[in-house]
Amino acid sequence: MISRRIVICAIFLCGTSAALAQSPTYAITPELEDAAKREGKLVYYTSIEVKVAEELAKAFEKRYPGIDVVVERNGAERQFSKIGQEYSSKIYNVDVVNSSDAAHFIFWKREGWLAAALPEEVAKRYPAGTFDPEGYYAAMRSSLSVMAYNTTLVPAAEAPKSFSELLEPKWRGKLVKAHPGYSGTILTATFQMARDLGWEYFEKLATQQVMQTQSSTDPPRKVIAGERPVMVDGNEYNVFLEKERGAPIEVIYPSEGTPLVVGPTGVMKNARNPNAARLFHAWSFTLEAQQVAVEKGGLRSFHPDIVEPKGRKPLAEIKLMKDDPVAVDKQVEDIKRRYVRYFKT
């Protein structure tokens, strides 16, 4: 048993140590695949909607039979707490982590919890700025936090077109939004909106009797159910998927700009299944995986060859708010505190 382990370690070291020493970039090699198969599984913590996460896991398991992906889906902020809780107790459950709150990766990198592992495909093909040059994380997906409305309750002509319109009396009691204390997407969106529109915007919005949900996947569901006709924020991808399934919902890209939420992935330094983790990490950036994320998950991809399904407005044509995870990382507590003060929850 022990000798077998040593052999496995030796194979792994021969295969990858030389590459790792110089640069964080690595490719999917047969050696990596073999080592990953011997580990046989990996634990994937993610804040992607659970059905999309399961789709990705299934696609990977099909591509690499014999390696199980254990999906642990939590809201980004709960996931952040969980990893913090586990790591401060020296429990290293998670192998690969994906979060809709890019600021988490700045924290984890600073704490030294991430491994430098940059898939070759990312280094060569992805636009600069979508990955950490030192290789600790890369944008596996992005999504927008959009406004949306129920098409049976609100005629298209009367649908709001901007964030500022939502402050009008006619939308009082008609709005639903998610909570930055639970959702990474909303934390990021709240930061961008507060920066571009000012905190006064939220102070006024809070007087509109807004219904609060926790996750950013929930507002689209509340809009479709007709609980509230308009959502202030929430995942674009849920709106896409529900709409394509025939639900009465339509997306709105507000005229002030739409918050862009980048969701990076990283490999943990103390991963128990380091090879399977690296294999999954690299695979998740391939066109194959990205296409699954886009088609089945309604997500946005930075892969240059991606084919966007019909009926979705291409990212290039949407006015976006600027992403700034470094600032989010610094202001997290302040954002949450101010939000609670205005919305009382």
């Binding site: 999906v71 809201g75 952040f80 949900t213 159910a225 609980e227 609670v340």
Partner: protein, 576 residues
């Protein structure tokens, strides 16, 4: 427990305050130590956090923060308010129901008992989610029907409100009161009531001046449990209070554990709950302590049912209406959501789908493991917890003394600790040496055992209290050894209580969310946590499928346990 007749000399003199040399101090000490460790370790960690600052120096600053910060103080007041109202309404609705079922000739009494058990089995968070489907102000089924029927634009009910929360929690706490009360009512012999009747009292006079005072301790005990349940509940407030825009102390404590966690403030926030609980338990003891309530003696007559006459069927209809609130309506909503595209959508074929069923049983990787974990934990905790509670109750009821008092205090202490706080205490205790249990089912087992112990102990204590020692004494006088007496007299009489206690723990484990949400990890997820996660992202269809399956399994197991208890016992003792 090896005993010699000589050891029982003091026993016959007084059932409560016997001399201390009876049972071997060793066993008492061992159980005491185990309990002290089980409960003390997580509490010690919490205390350490509540009274120190980040640097480890002693401080009261955390409590000052608690009082100073309106974000923290308001939830505390809200919580006490909530718990008081819940206890009041739970007692108000459960007391008449229990009396009707146990002491009158109401039609379908046994069926009603089973139905109340069903509402007891329903986890409060599942009830809260079902009521969201029913009574969300705009999309809720009831509100939609109301609008169609009345032409009004207003909602009939808004479940996202303080009163909505009180209502939902009371729905699922009232069964506690009901179970405690029916058990007590079942045990009151008719001879006392007959005596009053012979002396010329009217039916209602008998109820008010004989029956009611006799069950008053049970009513108080039930209301107290309801209060404590409501105070420490986490799931329902998390589901309903956040959309409504307010916090209870448990949701606030949960928020304080979000990263970066502030366990010191959370620990401080838990202390008022601990103090209030201790005060209530003390008051209960003062009120009840001086009265003797042992009513099942060797001479007991039969229970006589009061005839309702013309009121039978109207009252039956009222009872059914009451049961619609925790049962028929929510279950209808869940079944509908399980097979609907839009959970609260219209009742038509276009809205019908098997998508959620397929997702839960085929695609969702957590389903099978969560089911296995939940039921393994429930069986293990129920069995171990019953034995432990039985032992403690026996020691306290038949031994008393200082050791017994201490055991009783230890067994009741977890009542005062919100599950979420206990969860954090356990996390702190068992994630660092020497015992590392996080990531295993053991940590959940200990958490559930601790949380369920008080209820199980109360159940066993009630069983022992209602059982007059004269039966055991008779057996002893006739020459049976204490062990034989235990086996042939005490055990059979306690059987229904023991099975009830087992079921109580089993159901409690399936319902538990607040500690599980902190302690479970990806291999040890239980159903409640899976449902909570799915609710966070609004996946009502999948929740409905899992919830309904979980309830069916629970009913099957509870039914089986009751069937076992029914074999060889007279039907009147069947546990409800």
């Amino acid at each position: 427990m090896t005993l010699t007749p000589a050891q029982t000399s003091g026993y016959l003199a007084d059932k409560r305050t016997s001399s201390g040399f009876d049972l071997s101090a060793g066993v008492l000490g061992a159980v005491g130590l185990f309990l002290a460790g089980l409960i003390g370790l997580p509490l010690a960690w919490l205390a350490a956090f509540a009274f120190t600052n980040r640097q480890g120096a002693l401080t009261l600053a955390n409590f000052v923060d608690l009082i100073d910060d309106p974000d923290l103080f308001e939830p505390l007041l809200t919580t006490f308010n909530l718990a008081g109202l819940v206890a009041f309404f739970a007692a108000l609705s459960a007391a008449p129901l229990a009396w009707l079922v146990a002491r009158t000739d109401l039609p379908g009494r046994r069926a009603i008992r089973s139905l109340v058990t069903a509402s007891f089995v329903t986890p409060p968070f599942l009830g809260a989610i079902s009521w969201e489907i029913l009574a969300a102000p705009n999309s809720g089924i009831l509100n939609r029907l109301w609008r169609e029927a009345s032409g009004s634009n207003e909602a009939l009910f808004n479940i996202y409100s303080f009163s909505g929360l009180v209502f939902v929690i009371a729905c699922y706490t009232a069964p506690y009161v009901f179970v405690v009360l029916t058990n007590a009512l079942d045990r009151i012999p008719a001879d006392l009531e007959d005596a009053a009747g012979i002396l010329g009292a009217s039916r209602w006079r008998i109820v008010s001046s004989v029956t009611l005072p006799l069950v008053l301790p049970a009513l108080l005990a039930g209301a107290l449990v309801a209060f404590l349940q409501a105070m420490t509940l986490f799931g329902s407030p998390a589901i309903l209070a956040i959309p409504a825009g307010f916090h209870t102390i448990t949701t606030k404590i949960y928020a304080l554990f979000q990263f970066p966690p502030k366990p010191e403030i959370a620990a401080a926030a838990a202390l008022p709950l601990l103090l209030v609980t201790m005060l209530l338990l003390f008051l209960q003891g003062r009120i009840l302590g001086r009265r003797g309530y042992a009513v099942v003696g060797g001479k007991a007559g039969d229970v006589r049912l009061l005839s309702l006459g013309a009121w039978r069927w109207p009252l039956f209809a009222v009872v059914m209406l009451v049961l619609a609130l925790p049962l028929f309506l929510p279950y209808g909503a869940l079944l509908k959501a399980a097979v609907s595209r839009v959970p609260a959508g219209p009742f038509d074929l276009a809205n019908l789908t098997l998508h959620h069923v397929n997702f839960v049983f085929l695609d969702f990787s957590q389903t099978r493991r969560a089911f296995a974990n939940t039921f393994i934990l429930a069986l293990a905790t129920a069995s171990a917890g019953t034995l432990l509670a039985l032992f403690i109750a026996y020691m306290v009821a038949r031994q008393g003394g200082f050791g017994g008092k201490l055991l009783e205090a230890l067994a009741s202490a977890p009542l005062a600790i919100p599950g979420i706080v206990l969860g954090v205490g356990l996390f702190l205790a068992y994630t660092r040496g020497p015992i590392v249990l996080y990531g295993t089912l053991w940590i959940l087992f200990f958490a559930f055992l601790t949380i369920e112990l008080p209820a199980a102990y109360q159940q066993m204590r009630a069983a022992f209290r209602g059982l007059h020692p004269e039966l055991e004494e008779a057996s002893r006088i006739l020459g049976a050894t204490r062990l034989v007496t235990l086996r042939r007299i005490t055990a059979p009489l306690l059987k229904s209580g023991v099975i009830a206690g087992w079921c109580l723990i089993f159901i409690g484990v399936v319902r538990e969310l607040s500690a599980a949400v902190i302690l479970s990890s990806q291999n040890t997820k239980v159903l409640s946590v899976v449902i909570f996660d799915l609710n966070e992202s609004g996946d009502l269809g999948a929740i409905a499928v899992i919830g309904v399956t979980m309830l069916l399994l629970t009913f099957a197991i509870i039914g089986f346990a009751n069937w076992i208890s029914g074999v060889g016992a007279e039907p009147r003792r069947a546990v409800s």
